[in-house]
Amino acid sequence: MKGPRWLNDLTNSVLVQLFKHLPWLAERWAKGHRFVEGKGIPWAPLGKPLRESCIAMVTTAGVHLKSQPPFDMEDPNGDPSFRAFPSDVHAADLTITHKYYDHSAADRDINVVLPIDRLRELRDEGIIGGIAPTLYSFMGHIDGPHLKTLIGETAPEVARHLVQERADAAFLTPA
């Protein structure tokens, strides 16, 4: 859809609100859209109990440090890059760049998309063993040629970092 920028932005923000309030509309959209079909399912078993496991968090909600460059919102195929920041980050240092969902709730409380405070509580209570040192953040809404970059480059790169950082498991959140 090519048109004046203001019209595209307006159309997009209307769709964001419709999809938020009418989940069945999003389901119909999903049924009409072709996704990359998964063939086989990768499987890595959890090697130790949860209470001994170091948990990593990865999100596609477009979260990043205010000091980091924002995700590219101009490319209609999205931005396959990621941002990494320390897991002991202060929520006040984070922001969200993502125009394809309504992040007003997450702007008020980052735990809605990236539950850092909840994860710290579980660690302090001994329910999980620890928190991996780095959080990784992508923006969802990746399509076209950027899918290849995501699957072939940036996602495996994050996986390698997680292995190096001795994460035992990863919890992923969408937007």
Binding site: V16, Y101, H103, A169
Partner: protein, 86 residues
């Protein structure tokens, strides 16, 4: 997000993801998923609702131990703004 999850699992890290779009997840087939019928932008629920966020996070993490079948999608069935988390 399922593609990212599959890539991380393929890299050797066990993963659990939340989905707000079960139909998409069924096509992409990530290894372990917790599915919620919540609006976009709310995978852990509502802002400042600590019990809700904690319950969802804990449910997801416990699924790392309990799910044995690749591709499992758990559905706790919480109704948006109706379920009582206490």
């Amino acid at each position: 997000m399922g593609l990212l999850q599959r890539a991380i699992e393929a890299g050797g890290i066990p993963t659990i993801g939340i989905t707000l779009q079960k139909a998409v997840t069924e096509a992409v087939k990530p290894p372990r998923t917790l599915s919620l019928r919540y609006p976009f932008g709310h995978p852990l629920g509502e802002a400042l609702h600590v019990r809700q966020q904690r319950t969802i996070l804990l449910e997801a993490l416990r699924a790392l131990e309990t799910i044995r079948e690749p591709g499992t999608i758990l559905e706790p069935g919480y109704v948006w703004r109706r379920h009582r988390f206490d």
